[in-house]
């Protein structure tokens, strides 16, 4: 299987996610009162094994992640990931740096789930609205462990649509990743939604 989204469809999708992640960054900015820098999202269609490698995280590193599974017109997994240390720093920032870092573990899960919920839903909301789609989103779940524990799939030979964006809070030296991984089985429906959106834009542009 090859990447069968056209360059214009990839462009449209990148722009849609860019808007969603921009909103998410604004939400995070309001929660921690720090400027959030973003990279431009990258979107690819890849076998799961390669998608995991593209996450560009050391497989032995301890990661704190919030994941939300989604299903409906298309299905998959959205992830917000930090190194364990950066996750704790972010929690500390969220709580106004009032607690010593060693006392934060109890609050870590709740705080990161809340951050993940806000960030991932800002992305979901934008994508769903633009593509006029219907999906239901499960409750966010906190996972801690290495990449193999966090990034799960039924078969490494299956293909996924894979999106990655890196964000950082430069003043605090905290960085994390947002990633969306969509099952290939739902990609056809997703592509159709993207095509409708692109058709709407191009037909207006061409008059």
């Amino acid at each position: 299987m090859s990447n069968n989204l056209t360059p214009l469809e990839i462009d449209a999708l990148t722009e849609i996610f860019n808007i969603g992640i921009g909103r998410a960054a604004n939400s995070l900015n309001q929660m921690v009162s720090q400027t959030v820098d973003l990279t431009i999202p990258t979107i690819e269609i890849l076998p799961n094994k390669e998608a995991k490698e593209k996450l560009d995280l050391d497989t032995t590193m301890e990661i704190s992640a919030v994941t939300q599974r989604f299903s409906g017109d298309f299905q998959g997994q959205a992830l917000l990931m930090f190194s364990k240390e950066n996750g704790l720093q972010l929690v500390s920032l969220l709580l106004g740096n009032k607690l010593p870092i060693e006392d934060l573990s109890e609050l870590e899960q709740d705080s990161l789930v809340e951050i993940g919920n806000v960030i991932l839903n800002a992305c979901f909301g934008t994508v769903i609205n633009f593509l006029d789609s219907s999906i239901s989103i499960e409750m966010p779940e906190f996972i801690q462990g290495n990449l193999n524990k966090i990034f799960t799939y039924s078969s490494e030979h299956d293909w996924s649509l894979y999106l990655k964006v890196k964000f950082c809070l430069p003043s605090e030296n905290i960085s994390g990743y947002i990633s969306f991984i969509m099952d290939i089985t739902s990609l056809e429906i997703f592509q159709e939604s993207v095509r409708k959106f692109v058709f709407g834009v191009t037909s207006k542009a061409l008059g």
């Binding site: 808007i19 921009g22 909103r23 900015n29 431009i40 692109v198 834009v201 207006k204 542009a205």
Partner: protein, 118 residues
């Protein structure tokens, strides 16, 4: 006299949407498009006056604000809008400090039309 409008955005779809709105509100407009800051600077090197510029913030290489700074060293553009999905106060403050209009993405036809006719 027809207006010349510069549109710089790394997203082709986004440029198409902006162009469509401009063309429906300004007759006989000459639109110069660029996909990044370097291209944007190249395209204004022919000495042509630019009346209005729409510049995306988050682009590979030069950011929109860096491009606006570089453009200001070359020519005077009466109206400049910074378009961005990154709606943090810090970015808005930087846009205001640069003397440009801050516009949220997704773009809104009414906002762009008001800006064009202001």
């Amino acid at each position: 006299m027809s207006k010349t409008i510069l549109v710089v955005d790394d997203s082709l779809v986004s440029r198409m949407m902006i162009k469509t709105i401009i063309q429906s509100h300004v007759e006989g407009v000459d639109i110069i498009e660029a996909g990044n800051g370097v291209q944007g600077l190249d395209k204004v090197n022919n000495g042509k006056d630019i009346d209005i510029a729409f510049v995306d913030f988050n682009m590979p290489g030069m950011t929109g604000l860096e491009l606006i700074g570089a453009l200001a060293e070359k020519l005077t553009i009466p109206k400049v809008a910074l378009l961005t999905a990154n709606i943090q106060d810090e970015i808005k403050a930087q846009a205001i400090a640069a003397g440009v209009t801050f516009m949220n993405k997704p773009i809104n036809e009414e906002v762009i039309a008001t800006f064009l006719h202001r």
